[in-house]
Symmetry: C2
Subunit: 339 residues, 2 copies
DNA sequence: CTGAAAGCGCTTACAG
DNA sequence: CTGAAAGCGCTTACAG
């Protein structure tokens, strides 16, 4: 292994000078800098990450804690992961990926051992077991997803309340007076997936205000159950003219259900989902949707995290809870209800 | 930060004794061991990973190089990633996730800096730019996907040739004499996705042997293009009674296409895909398929990698190229052709 | 069974 | 502008 000592020797300078020439942390004569650069190139030198981490207490690694639950839609998680990973790399950080089901334990492991300079927690639950560990850790963290208690935490999430209101208002404006909302499965809520009821409760409240009938149900996470559910909902509520989907599996299943029933959107039924544009493109969902912006949320979380990591002042600034305003992507699946 | 020095002081022993008590690498009196364990618990000690890595030259981290290409199906990649990650953790390794598009550069960075003890490369291409870097690296690596040149590389992949033959034979046995094979988009092949033509060529050859007409085409990666393609293929080859899909997007799009044409499988058309069971469950694909076993391949790759990492003998053993035999998962979508 | 010391490869005050 | 030295927190021969 080629060390900075080898570089120094080849360049005819001390190790400290070689180090400074590389870091640029003090002025170096052009000539020496050239000799060091040449030596680095010639020997193919790269600093040993462990040694550097030991000396600087900086690993340039961010821990990414993903949580894959049984009845949640895994591909959606991937979008967040990529948003975090890409942004981290832009800022010169690598990603330590943790997918263990026992997230609290994993988080303690990587923070205690100083493998990471900070962490991003994905899919944060209402009463997330990882939060006490994060609060006790010396490294800063950023969350994607809103927990019950945000104190001393940087939190980023879609404004699901606003999303719920937006769905209802959009339909109401078009003239719809009876709607169905299919949320994630109840398990997701029980596990602490607050975004489910945040959207649902806000939608129900807004429906009340607007005088719209809204049938809200928890859905299923897989086929064929979710397809059956959609069918039975449409049977049960023949007067409903609009469908709101906060459930990826339901959105993916809907085209065949509509087809089977001989319905088309928006002529027979108006539809709005809540998922990412990438998801829509991959599965070619023709439904207008509230963009869930996973890449954007991942990016925001990493940016804030790195700010805290790198600046001592930022370290002590008040924590932020930031909601991304939902945006409706119009794919033409809503219109006035059939007369 | 609590160090092993703190532990040693609290336990009233030397740092080396504390270290040995923790590692178990030499015999320690029961009493001392107890005192050290108590001190560790009391102080909440965890070894600093960077310091340990520097001392031992072992990071206990495996680099995972994922490659997301424009027109490949991202959720499929996730399955491989999780297989690798879960197995690594079982074997006490953490995962450094790399998703940069310039995989060769990223690989050089993490190996040169000794951030990892070994690497797993996913989605390996025929002439993968990462391979020269891997061969030059001091760490061992394992590939998922078959490159053109496997020399001094451990390689794991599905036996796509056998998969192609199996699809054809299965249909032939049922009495089909004219089939359509939809592969991945041509871009995937151009980029070096050898599995596409490995399956296709073997299928064509087997069809020739069996006296079956096989129309093989490259597909599309997104809707609505892939749906249109399926429709036009069925229009163009009205005599075809079976459909073979080596293309996730096509598989995902097929149910609505069949529906729209008023066809059902297997009564009107027999269908076999090639994808993972997880994929089938998530999208509820009712089609029989050749299981692509991403979790199993990821697991095999990590196992072999860790063997090489941990045993000096294994380090020098001949490299392996291992093909997983395809298995057909019968979901009832094939039968004798309609008469 | 235990301890004192060297060393892993860096960075960074301290001195000049 | 440059160098000699200390130190980051471990592990592991070397000695006893």
């Amino acid at each position: 292994m080629v060390t900075i000592g080898d570089v120094a020797r080849a360049a005819g300078v001390s190790r400290s000078t070689a180090s400074y020439a590389l870091s640029g942390k003090r002025s170096i004569s052009a000539e020496v800098r050239q000799r060091v650069d040449d030596a680095v190139r010639e020997l193919g030198y790269t600093a040993n990450a462990g040694a550097r981490a030991l000396a600087t207490s900086e690993t340039m690694v961010i821990g990414l804690l993903a949580q894959f639950h049984e009845d949640e839609f895994a591909p959606a998680m991937l979008q967040y992961m990529l948003g975090v990973s890409d942004t981290a790399r832009e800022l010169d950080y690598d990603i330590l990926l943790v997918t263990e089901s026992d997230g609290a334990r994993a988080l303690r492991r990587i923070t205690d051992s100083r493998m990471v300079d900070g962490v991003v927690l994905l899919n944060v639950a209402e009463d997330d077991k990882r939060l006490p560990v994060l609060r006790a850790a010396p490294q800063p963290g950023a969350l994607v997803g809103l927990p019950g208690d945000c104190s001393s935490l940087d939190v980023f999430d879609l404004d699901f309340e606003e999303a719920g209101r937006m769905m209802v208002d959009h339909m109401h404006r078009l003239g719809h007076r009876e709607l169905i909302l299919v949320s994630q499965p109840e398990h997701v809520v029980e596990r602490g997936g607050a975004y489910v009821w945040r959207l649902q409760d806000a939608a129900l409240e807004q429906a009340r205000i607007r005088g719209v009938r809204l049938h809200a149900v928890f859905g299923e996470s897989k086929q064929p159950a979710v397809g059956q559910l959609l069918n039975s909902l449409l049977d049960t509520h023949p007067g409903a003219t609009g469908l709101l989907l906060n459930n990826e599996a339901a959105a993916a299943a809907l085209p065949s259900v509509l087809h089977a029933r001989g319905l088309s959107a928006p002529a027979d039924l108006s539809v709005i989902g809540r998922y990412s544009d990438e998801f829509a493109r991959t599965f070619s969902l023709p439904f207008s949707s509230i963009e869930s912006a996973p890449d954007r949320l991942g990016r925001m979380a990493v940016r804030q995290l790195v700010r805290r990591i790198e600046s001592p002042e930022a370290r002590n600034q008040p924590h932020v809870v930031r909601f991304v305003s939902p945006e409706l992507v119009d794919r033409g699946s809503t219109a006035a209800p059939p007369t």
